[in-house]
Amino acid sequence: MLLTSIFLLVPLVVLVVYSFSGSRYATVWGGFSTQWYVRLADNVELREALWITLKLGGLSTLLATVLGTAAALGHWRLRGGGTRAVPTFFYLPVMVPEIVLGLALLIFFTKVWTVERGLWTMTAGHVVFGVCYVFAVVSARLRGFDGRLLEAARDLGATPWQAFRLVQLPMMLPGIVGGALLSLALSLDEFVISYFVTGAGISTLPVKIFAMMKKGVTPEINALATVLLMASVLLALLSIMVQGKHRAD
């Protein structure tokens, strides 16, 4: 277990340490320096890529959350009336290798529905996997929901809409938030699908990073990787704290 821990930690530690190196070469230690972070902040292309990544993440998460939540609710309302096929169908996109999903969308957007590729084509792809995760998380949450609670609310004089909004929706909310966060995290990190269906001159951050890495190994990439790593760790901690708080309630 100790060896496993070392195996897991060494690459990350090395990455972070060398981002503070003063040397131009990624594996030569040239004294402590923050120059690569300064360079990073001045990089206009990266800032643009970050903006596209955030737009893509927000847009696809919004769509995936609305569609996935509605589908999970619809599936729950059927209560297993010959609908075993529905969850299986929502499970399929996750089982297909990402690269196949990417190239299939590329063929679709060049030969079937010819559009200029860019933010919207990437959104289409990201919603495909996002909606599946939201469906899975919200469905899991709804599995424990007793439908008789809605009937009880109706008996007490609530309209169907009130019963849903005041009884069922609050109970679903942690699932919706969890699914949305998952979808957002996956979208921000997603590389292969974006790489296949993006248009000329439009790059998300992962696509941009990949291009930089193909060109060579520089401390600037280390600095960028460190920033992203810290952002991810913070997001993960945040979501753990939010969930922990819910459990405490």
């Binding site: 990350l12 569609l67 196949v100 999903l101 299939a104 919603v127 990073i209 992203l228 790593l229 991810s232």
Partner: protein, 305 residues
Amino acid sequence: MMGRSRWSWFLMLPALLWLGVFFVVPLGMTALAAFARRGEPLEWTFSMAAWAELGRGGFGVVARDPDDAAAGWRFQNEALAVGWRTFWVSVATTAGALLIGFPAALFMVRRPARWRRVLYGLIMLPLVANSLILAYAWVTLLRRDGLVEKFLRTLGVLGEDGSLGLIYTPSAVVLGMIYWYLPFMVYPVYSSLEKFDWRLMEAAADLGATAWQRLVHVLWPLALPGIMTGCLLVFVQAAGTLVFPELLGGSKTRLLGPLIHDKFLSYPENYPLGSALALALMILTTLGVWQALRVSGERKDNSVS
């Protein structure tokens, strides 16, 4: 309750439509594209050219070196050689992840709850990062004059100009992928071990089973569903990976992912051939899924009887 049912389907409709248009139709088109003619970049005319190209060279094997039998053999057919290499790299990655992940999960599940959470976080740590960044971390470690070689030189194990040639090999790709896919193995294995009733082990010990017998005949079979899920997740993803072979494999370690990528995104494009390769990849991963389901299905039958 006709009304409720109609409403329910109406709620599901937008999501189903989205998946229909942007998932089912594109996949169908990919299957068709494999039988289409190569054009600019694709023409919807029936053609078997892609498959003829895939089959070029036949499916036989030839000796790697006619004068040296020990050098082994290789496939004459390029696609088959790449597919075979992809298969073995994926199997090695799955086996490696299991070899590290199973003991790790076993160790974790036996710790007190507080410890367990820390260890669990540690194992899941790579997941919060991006696979690109982790692959890159391995590049800085393994590359020529990279940190591993520098470290060994400082120790005097490696000569001043010596190089181990670590990067741009199948092993480098496997190492990077084991690192990235380890959480996908540990999570399901850990979940199945968590439900395990450890009194069974005591019972087996009381009946005279050795530690090894207990592991093989009691723990392993009951953990098998989790193990199978883990293997499945790792194998399917490893078979289709693009990032790791591109960054750690170099031009000598061609795998299916980068080969498919080139047919679509490098000049000259060949959509039909790329689609045919994608179908081959789907068949490879489906076989993996089917095999895993069969094994875990057999287990279920056994445990019932």
